[in-house]
């Protein structure tokens, strides 16, 4: 009985506590850098589109809200012909970012993307692509991959030997 009254008293005292509510939008809340907000597609340090259209983000997405189509450009690079995220379905779980082997898809600190029309939440590649490398400044997938592209021949990637001379007869 007494404990009930004590509880009530304790709760009553909260009337005079500082409120934890942040009065958004007048006051901006603190958003940690690893916040999972609006998704972007980044570019590698050389300015090339990072996404290699591997479909891993799409298959990792639990709500299947990523759709893309792979294509190859004149330099032999894979890139997404289109890349679409239906943000009206996205649950901002970040699985896509974790799945991405190229650090291309990243979740950012921006969460202010409310829309009156759901259709406006469908983002195409033009809406997603940014010019910088985002959270991972130095990485360039093609520097580590074996696939040769224009400007990076076989044997020129990190940790690679020059191509084998098939006609060599040395043991």
């Amino acid at each position: 009985m007494l404990s009930l009254l004590k509880t009530m008293w304790t709760v009553f005292l909260h009337l005079f506590r500082r409120k934890i509510t942040v009065s958004y939008p007048e006051e901006k809340p603190y958003v940690p850098p690893r916040w999972r907000g609006r998704i972007i597609l980044s570019c590698d340090p050389d300015g090339g589109e990072r996404c290699v259209a591997c479909y891993l983000c799409a298959v990792a997405c639990p709500v299947d809200c990523i759709a893309l189509q792979a294509a190859e450009d004149e330099h032999g690079r894979r890139y997404p012909e289109f890349f679409r995220i239906n943000f009206s379905r996205c649950i901002f779980c970040g699985f896509c970012e974790e799945a991405c082997p190229a650090y291309a898809i990243q979740l950012t600190t921006d969460f202010e993307m409310g829309e009156y029309k759901r259709q406006n939440l469908v983002y195409e590649k033009e809406d997603l692509l940014i010019s910088g490398p985002g959270k991972y400044p130095g990485y360039n997938f093609y520097r580590t991959a074996g696939l040769s592209i224009e400007g990076k021949d076989k044997g020129e990637a990190e940790n690679e030997l020059p191509p084998v001379d098939v006609r060599g007869i040395m043991p």
Binding site: A58, V63, P101, R118, V164
Partner: protein, 909 residues
Amino acid sequence: MATIFIDNKPYEVKEGQDLLQACLSLGFNVPYFCWHPAMHSVGACRQCAVKQYKDEADTRGKIVMSCMTPAADGTRISIDDPEAKAFRKGVIEWLMLNHPHDCPVCDEGGECHLQDMTVMTGHSYRRYRFKKRTYRNQYLGPFVNHEMDRCIQCYRCVRFYRDYAGGRDLNVFASHDHVYFGRHEDGILQSEFSGNLVEVCPTGVFTDKTLKKHYTRKWDLQTAPSVCVHCSLGCNTIPGERYGKLRRVSDRYNSEVNGYFLCDRGRFGYEFVNSGRRIPQVLVRPERNVDAIPVSREEVLEHISGVLHFGARVIGIGSPRASLEANFALRSLVGPENYYSGMSEKEHALISSIIKILEKGPARSASLNDVMKSDAVFVLGEDVLNTAPMLGLALRQSVRQRPMEAERRLKIPDWHDAAVRAAMQSERGPLFIATPAGTGIDDIAAGTFRGAPDDIARLGFAVAHELNNELPEVTGLSSKVHGLAKRIADELRNAGRPLIVSGTGCLSEAVIHAAANIAWALCEKGRKAQLCFAMPECNSVGLGFIGGSSIGMALKAADEGRVDAAIVLENDLYRRVDAAQLDRFFDKVKNVIVIDHVFTKTSAKADVILPAGSFAETTGTVINNEGRAQRFYQVFIPGLDIQESRQWLRDMMAASHIPLAGQWKTLDDITAAMTEAIPSLKQVREIAPGATYRETGMRVPRQPHRYSGRTAMFSHFLVHEPKPPEDTDAPFSFSMEGYEGRHPSPLIPRFWSPGWNSVQAVNKFQREINGPLRGGDTGKRLIEPGDIERPAYFTVVPAAFNVHDNEILVVPLYHIFGSEELSVISPGVAELSSKPYLALNPRGLKGTGTKEGEEIKLILNGRTYNLPVKFMSDLPDGVAGLPFGLPGSQWVELPAWGRVNPENADIVQ
């Protein structure tokens, strides 16, 4: 049966297998690379290590390669032994030392056997810190992409390409850790089966180049079981679709038909489905010789109901490349008496006679599996690699049967591939080939014969006479040919499973009769002789069952003014009859309605053009050369006005108030009506469960459970996802919803099993390795041999071929890439297809100074053709070859006598 102990539990396995095969058959996950179910063991990769124990008391055991150890009675092994596990993990780690960081951009990713095995063995971290070896890649043609860095040196590719498929231009080069799998230089792979490298190679070295152009991962493909439409063999396929485009075709295992492989025409011919030649919408031509204009469905049906008014004399022309159901729907619409099979007169006659031979004679029609198991083969008049390519691959295996017997006597197990091949060397079983021109399997033949069709038939009759001297004797044979006939007869007589191969390739009935005579004579001698006929199209036999008469009769009816309107179903008549005759037909018949999926010369003339679905957009049944009825299922829903032919026909029936239309709600209804109307097709009902089949209340999902992009694929059109369309014709869903588990074999939409993402997953669907699928192989044989005391032998032996003075006999030649109507629309196949030419023996041109490639005049049936000459030195004297059906060529009735360069008449012998 042998009992083996795996981790101390006893299991019953079939005798004469290796341990790996036994373990996989039992459902164990043992990783492997170099072993392939069709090519067996060589022990090259060391991945399949298990621990073997001498006996129960042995606790130390030793590591052995399961693929190189017989599953003998009492064998004790452990798969889970920690040492064996560590060994397997180590092997993967070594294999991965040089493996590039490529998975995201590798087309194999997601269906990579190397990925699967890496996960299975638990190797997850690269410790090797040194540099990776790299290679330069090669250009291998329009079908196969090469990325050599990813190779793990399992040798499967060369074993398939050279040993299994008889290719010569792919090999292994260099030494030690530099070994290289490729060609001696860049260039197009020559084998007709190069596409199988894509599935045989466990890594991403060889990948599908046509897929690469519109790359989609396996998990994103909407698939359904299908049947190849590019030749008469009916190989089972799995076409995959994404975003409304067909992306690739892969193999669907069927132990009786194609097994693990497909030919390149079947694998890469699919692109016609996406081509610009597709008819996208309903078109109506207001007048002849003006452009057709698009109209709406309703308008066209209204128009058609006017055309098909009561009392109008309407004929229907079917097609051997359309399904049974579509042909039957047409037959029902116009009435059986007005239905024509759509085959040329000769084709029609040949097919009817083949069906009669198979039904009435004692020799059974051979499946491809039977072909592989035959130990003596005689090929009459058929260039199998070009008309029925997989038959050629099967014949390559058949010549190993006889030597294998010898190996068995030496106690070399069948599965020990390296040992078998080493012992066999170049020894081969008897295969005799009699064709007008050289074939791609002549290299494995024990004897070849080149002759005009009549001479081939005469050789056949001579062989038959040798086997049974009551049969008509062939007089006037040279002693050489006579000797050959004797030899062939002896080999066939001594064989356990002799096989006679023939077909419609020569367009000669005599050849077919000769083939039948030989097989029957053998049967009468108590041999289990089988017959295998190659036919022109995927449903030629089916059309034979449906009946009707040939196009010729239709043209005749039109000529006599007995036709007001004609409905042409999926058929380019200009590929089957003479153009002039057809033009007359179009003049006579005022209303020609064409239902087809690609624009053809015929549709270019038609008054109404209705867009039909291709094989990937329809469900139906086709009957292959063996007489096996197989169902193919719709893979995806086509856009625009396109709908299945039989739907169009049903709509037309409804528009013209034919009551049957109301009863035909689903495919099953049509099948039921068809089997009732044509009793010989009765079993078609049993080839697959009907549309109402459900597993635990669920359909079979066309999309794999990992299908991605469901909520984004079409969100740019409309963000609200529509309900997936329903399929009333088949028990499949157009979504991921459904039962993702074991289904009856005709309904397996893809091979996948947990941990097995690659094509190798098929081992989880087989009753035992290389055995039928669980639940039996798909398809039902509709033709079984009659129980006949004495077959009705053919007695008319054609006269010997005589070289004419001023004339030359023109026979058809075939091209795997080019001769088939649909596949050649695909860019890759088109690239490899030849231009029309005239093949002449240079012997006959001696002294004329004609060079190869020079244009030459050919006068045939009163028409002149200008064609470049191609030298073909094995053509018999007095015979020329004209390729059939190549793009840009015209149909000519063959074989026919023609004249070459008539103003310079003396050049022809």
